[in-house]
């Protein structure tokens, strides 16, 4: 087992790869009461079309998320209940590219770890339980339909993406999940939940060697092939539609606008590209920027104004979101500021200040065991080391950041999604 120390942030990460290809990372957190472990598959909502040997297979939207729900079923009962009986708080999530199962506990760490590794490695689906799950997930989908925040996001993806599977909600639709059977679940488990396509990440105050021994004991599956995925081919940088508007029960309009960027191919360069784009957006419209303060004092934006980068497989998005009637004024201000920065560059002292400020946020993110483990797991799948974030940020120049924002946030590249209040809802 090798280890790497990151002195600036006071962390040490242990790493090993088992013979069957399972990557294991352990972060030692002295003094913590809690231990956290996550067992994740490189498989998410976007992985609908794939091939292992010959010929592509198409699967129903929502399958990865459905599988996540059903993995807790074991021949001898429900794994979630077993973990809860041990006092562990366990859960799982499915993102666009990852499915992760995790628990945290303050006692019986090794026993809980065995349970986690065991249930994720054991496919057990019955006709009855699969049918019943459709009812539960349908309610989850319904709940999502009532969420204006979700609607504004999904509609932006639909306006921007032409064929990428991220357009469809991770949970799928009530219709798409209707076609899921025990055998589709088994096939997807077989293809994606093989040790070579998975990572185990744990953090806490325990002996790293023990985690590796336990993983070796329990994850006995042979190495598997790496599934090739089809995300619908390269996306043009232009949006499909410029505007999607809907009405919902909201007090005032919610809006989100954004544009696509071409992601770097190599993992580490991709990570650096994301950090650079985030830094650029922060310098351009963060709380200490002139743009933010101009819009805030005019009452055009409020504290809910936000921006960021979303990374999907094979495409990145830059977005801005907020609430209020004057979203057109926000867009115009963003476009002209991006254009100005492209011509004049960032103010040097502002840019260096923003780099300095990123230290606090980065350190804060390391306080959370969950956050440490999940970002390392995602980094492992994508081929980068998130612990090197601060060093990468340090090397980003104001010129490249200026070039990034001015190239992305243009009127031509941008699509807008708005959720308006119901007609007649005004007081």
């Amino acid at each position: 087992m090798e280890y790497k120390s990151y002195e600036k942030v006071g962390e040490t990460v242990y790493h090993a790869v088992l013979d069957n290809g399972l990557n294991i990372y352990i972060i030692q957190k002295k003094g913590y009461m809690k231990s956290f472990a996550c067992f994740a598959a490189n498989y998410g909502g976007c992985d609908l079309r794939f091939k292992l040997d010959d010929g592509f297979t198409d699967t129903p939207a929502g399958i990865a998320h459905f599988l996540e729900h059903k993995m807790f079923d074991m021949p001898d009962g429900n794994a979630l209940t077993r973990l809860s009986e041990n006092g562990a708080s366990a859960n799982a999530f499915t993102s666009d590219s990852t499915t992760a199962y995790f628990f945290e506990s303050t006692d019986l760490f090794e026993e809980n770890l065995k349970l986690l590794l065991n249930f994720v490695s054991t496919p057990y689906f019955t006709l009855e339980s699969v049918e019943k799950e459709k009812g539960i997930i349908a309610q989850e989908i319904r709940m999502g339909e009532d969420s204006p925040g979700r609607a504004v996001y999904v509609n932006l993806l639909n306006a921007l993406l032409s064929s990428h599977p991220a357009r469809i909600s991770i949970a799928g639709t009530v219709e798409s999940i209707a076609g899921i059977t025990a055998s589709t679940l088994e096939e997807c488990h077989h293809v994606f939940y093989n040790p070579s396509n998975m990572v185990l990440c744990a953090a806490g105050d325990f002996d790293p060697q023990r985690v590796m021994q336990i993983a070796r004991e329990i994850v006995k599956a042979p190495p598997g092939g790496m599934p090739v995925r089809d995300y619908g081919g390269p996306e043009s940088m232009l949006p499909v539609r410029k505007l999607i508007e809907v009405n919902m029960e909201v007090s005032r309009p919610l809006y989100m606008f954004g544009a696509k960027l071409q992601p770097e191919k190599n993992g580490q360069s991709l990570y650096r590209q994301i950090l650079a784009a985030e830094l650029a957006l922060e310098a351009m419209m963060g709380t200490s920027s002139p743009l933010y303060n101009k819009l805030y004092s005019k009452g055009i934006i409020n504290g809910n104004f936000d921006y960021g980068i979303i990374d999907f497989p094979e495409v990145l998005l830059a977005y801005v979101d907020g609430e209020g009637e004057e979203y057109r004024a926000v867009m115009d201000a963003v476009f002209s500021e991006a254009y100005r920065i492209g011509r004049e560059g960032f103010d040097k002292s502002l840019f260096n200040r923003i780099k300095k400020a990123s230290i606090g946020g980065f350190l804060r993110s390391l306080n959370s065991l969950e956050n440490c483990c999940i970002s390392i797991a995602e980094g492992c799948f994508a081929g980068y080391d998130p612990m090197e974030g601060l060093d990468l940020i340090n090397g980003i120049t104001s010129e490249e950041a200026a070039c990034l924002v001015s190239g992305i946030l243009t009127e031509d590249n941008t699509a807008l999604s708005v959720v308006n209040p119901q007609a007649g809802a005004e007081e």
Binding site: G87, M143, P290, N302, E323, K356, A357
Partner: protein, 429 residues
């Protein structure tokens, strides 16, 4: 094991410190306590937002933000909470721990100093708050109150509280009402500020690697101009034990999933409340994934996506909330009461009891790993006049018996039921 140290640093100002090396960032908060009242809630809630806009030294947000950037990305955020019938306002700060700063720089004193400037030396014009700041933050406050409807789950719970506690302060939202918010003037707000700053009980909380002497010195320097007068009132929450009969409310909105919210009074057990037993009762009934509500209403009957309960020990109430199809209203309501009846009849297995205990104990121990969790815990203890730490609380939870839980379940009465359903014509379910 980190326990809290307390020190009264000025009249009615208590400093609570948890010293630990395990976090990479420090946490500091200042909290002013007021009674939650319909007439003043909006005015009180508006204060931290107006103060955060500017102080004498940094007269606008841009300069405050720039100062925070220079402090390695420290944050100072307005906080408004309702704790039972107590309204708390103030600021929470997160900042890099000195151990991780380049060139041996220290920022603890600077961050606390900046909080002091923002709280005590606001940007004013001719002795009153800047009207531009008041007008714009008043608009933001009104928007915040209106936007409660955007999240239907919390909206349904807020409506239930409002309807159930129509004659109690508990029904007042932490941000107050639109009507009172819209009427706030800069003069009235300035006057209110002077009274709040001088007469409120104040709690200061710090968690990080510095010791209490260093924090106290920083606080005394930063808050040296804090005016202190007689405490206006003691903050307290009134507990209502009885309710006459269950009231039912239904409202309609354009939604595709129904929201059921039920409000219970914990009843006569609140004369001598056993907080640990209440916590275990809640975990058995509806507060955890091994609870009766989760296992039966969600898992066995597939009635809903979520069904859970939460108790407020300060007020002696329990709220149950669930997302269901419109036509499942009666079934869900009946099933939830059936599960409470099971608790009343002592139908609680050994496994249910031990899972509930482990759940509560894990939650308590996990608090020790998060500065925000520690603040929440110790601030709550301090307001309630309790001194035991999470570990002692966990030991009390370990001793809870089935009889204790049964006694609580038997004391609980259903006060009000609220159902949010779709408009008839737009019905999907």
């Amino acid at each position: 094991m980190e326990n809290a140290e307390y020190r009264t640093v000025m009249p009615d100002v208590e400093l609570i410190c948890v010293k630990t090396d395990k976090f990479k960032t420090g946490y500091f908060s200042v909290t002013l306590l007021r009674n939650l009242r319909k007439e003043t809630a909006s005015k009180t809630a508006l204060l931290p937002y107006v103060l955060r806009r500017g102080c004498s030294k940094y007269p606008n947000m841009e300069s405050i933000s720039a100062a925070l950037d220079e402090l390695y990305g420290a944050s100072i955020d307005p906080v408004v909470r309702a704790l039972g019938e107590v309204q708390s306002i103030g600021f929470a700060c997160g900042f890099a721990d000195d151990r991780y700063l380049p060139d041996g720089e220290t920022i603890l004193e600077k961050v606390i100093g900046l909080v002091g400037e923002i709280l005590l030396d606001p940007a004013t014009r001719a002795g009153t708050f800047d009207s531009e700041y008041v007008i714009s933050e008043r608009k933001n406050l009104c928007d915040r109150i209106r936007s409660l409807i955007n999240d239907k789950r919390s909206y349904s719970i807020a409506r239930l509280k409002e309807l159930m506690c129509d004659n109690e302060h508990y029904g007042v939202d932490r941000f107050g009402t639109l009507k009172t918010a819209e009427r706030i003037t800069k003069l009235a707000l300035t006057r209110h500020y002077r009274s709040v700053i001088a007469s409120s009980q104040i709690k200061l909380f710090y968690c990080g690697s510095a010791d209490i002497d260093r924090v106290e010195a920083a606080v005394l320097a930063a808050f040296r101009t804090l005016p202190r007068s007689e405490r206006e009132e003691d903050v307290a929450t009134q507990i209502k034990i009885d309710c006459a009969e269950t009231r039912f409310f239904t409202e309609e909105l354009d939604v595709s999933q129904g929201k059921l919210a039920m409000g219970f009074r914990l009843g006569p057990i609140m004369y001598h409340p056993d907080y640990a037993a209440i916590a275990i009762f809640n975990a058995v009934f509806g507060g955890s994934v091994t609870s009766k509500l989760f296992v039966n209403v969600r898992e066995k009957l597939s009635l809903c996506y979520y069904a859970g309960s939460g108790t407020d020990r300060r007020k002696g109430v329990m709220l149950v909330s669930s997302g269901i199809d419109f036509d499942k209203y009666q079934t869900a309501l009946t099933e939830i009461i059936t599960q409470l009846d099971a608790c009343r009849n002592g139908e609680i297995t050994e496994e249910e009891l031990s899972s509930a205990k482990k759940y509560v104990i894990t939650m308590l121990r996990s608090l020790l790993d998060s500065a925000g969790g520690l603040e929440d815990y110790w601030l709550g203890q301090s307001i309630d006049g309790l001194t035991y730490g999470p570990e002692e609380y966990a030991a009390l939870a370990e001793d809870v018996t089935v009889e204790d839980i049964t006694a609580i379940a038997q004391s609980v009465v259903l006060d009000s039921v609220y159902f949010l359903r779709g408009r008839i014509e737009g019905q999907v379910g």
